[in-house]
């Protein structure tokens, strides 16, 4: 494949190197002269100097025959514009854009720049998974089917520990499908009593996370009135 990578920061440089090792043809475009000279010492003719939001720079890099354009500059507007032009003007089939500020993801979606990748989002997801206190973890999102599967760890202050599964007021549109206890998973029955340290898996309609968090989460103080 012929792949154009825009932005020779840490992400772009390493990406270009990996792609070259996988025998792809790669052009890495960098607009900062000093950075370009540094990277060029290693990647030689695979690096090109110029501002990739200038159309002629993209054309000089051969965008017309590119199979993929990956925009990983540190500037979200630049990444959006480059991908938009690549896709709509030069009809590049596959684009990938980096989102620097996760709050800008909505703009990428509005302008149909996808897939987009945000390191911050990825790390947040890992954090969700690695840090149990964080609460509810998304295991699977089936966007088309409008279903999701979540995992939740029951801490010692969870309001459902010591209760029978049959007595739980599961929100409508949610179903408890599995309990992981001491490394083993099983399908709970109505008589299963939940314990501290259990991880529960549930399938639910999108938008039910908060209700579920409230049910399985810690006892909240009366300040928000949820008890009433």
């Amino acid at each position: 494949m012929y792949i154009i990578v825009i932005g020779a920061g840490k992400v772009g440089w390493n990406l270009a190197r990996e792609l070259l090792e996988k025998d792809h043809e790669v052009t890495l475009i960098e607009s900062d002269r000093r950075r370009y000279l540094t990277v060029e010492q290693e990647l030689e003719h695979n690096v090109s100097y110029g501002d990739a939001s200038e159309l002629w720079v993209l054309e000089r890099a051969g965008i017309q025959r590119a199979d993929m354009v990956i925009a990983v500059t540190g500037d979200d507007e630049d990444n959006i514009l480059i991908c938009q032009v690549a896709k709509q003007k030069y009809l590049v089939k596959q684009i990938i854009a980096r989102v620097n500020n996760p709050r800008n993801r909505q703009h990428f979606e509005l302008l149909d720049i996808k897939p987009s990748v945000s390191a911050t989002d990825l790390i947040l997801r890992l954090l969700e998974h690695e840090v149990p206190e964080y609460g509810l973890v998304h295991l699977l999102d089936l966007q088309e089917e409008q279903l999701e599967i979540i995992e939740m760890l029951l801490g010692k202050d969870s309001r459902v520990t010591g209760r029978r599964v049959g007595d739980l007021e599961m929100p409508e549109g949610s179903l408890l499908i599995s309990v992981l206890r001491s490394g083993k998973g099983f399908v709970p029955s109505a008589d299963t009593v939940l314990e501290e340290g259990d991880e529960i898996l549930a399938v639910l309609d999108p938008g039910k996370e908060d209700e579920l968090k409230r049910l399985f989460g810690p006892e909240v103080d009366g300040s928000n009135g949820s008890g009433g």
Binding site: S53, E54, L55, W56, D75, D76, E77, D78, I80, L81, V85, Q88, K89, R103, N104, Q106, H107, L110, L111
Partner: protein, 153 residues
């Protein structure tokens, strides 16, 4: 009309003052709080006293755009110093907020032309300057050999 101007540099601030003078409601959004001072150049009273609005924030921030009144804007002008920023926020104004009139300043003629063809109203000061310079040279050429003044310049 309610006009929202994002990017309050020399161009943005001049357009803002002119529009306010013509009786429009004008709101400016700029990252730099100092650019408020530029708005008031040549004004006898403060920008706010004259009915203008000024918000500090970036054009890509939804909260800033909403605070500056994008939801009720009749016209949106993107005149920051970044071409790509202008192109992106103008499309956001067009597509997400459905502002009826959206204009983006784009210095690069190639980008300006292509986005213009995609249905974005772009204004390219560079093209205007190129036309004027070329015109001036042709005019001089048609008028015979340059006189002493032109040569000195």
């Amino acid at each position: 009309m309610f006009i929202l101007i994002v990017g309050c540099g020399r161009v943005g601030s001049s357009v803002a003052r002119a529009m306010l003078r013509e009786g429009h409601e004008v709101s400016c959004l700029d990252e730099d709080p100092e650019s408020h001072a530029r708005l008031e150049v040549g004004l006898e009273r403060s920008w706010e006293d004259l009915g203008g609005q000024f918000t500090v924030g970036a054009g890509l921030e939804t909260e800033a755009l909403v605070a500056a009144g994008i939801e009720k804007a009749d016209a949106f002008i993107a005149s920051t110093d970044g071409d790509n920023t202008n192109i992106v926020i103008a499309q956001i104004a067009q597509k997400r907020y459905e502002v009826p009139t959206v204009i983006a300043r784009v210095l690069d003629p190639l980008r300006a032309e292509w986005y213009q063809r995609q249905g974005l109203h772009t204004v390219c000061p560079t093209s205007v300057a190129i036309d004027m310079l070329e015109g001036a040279v042709r005019e001089a050429d048609a008028g015979g050999p340059p006189d002493g003044a032109a040569e000195a310049a």
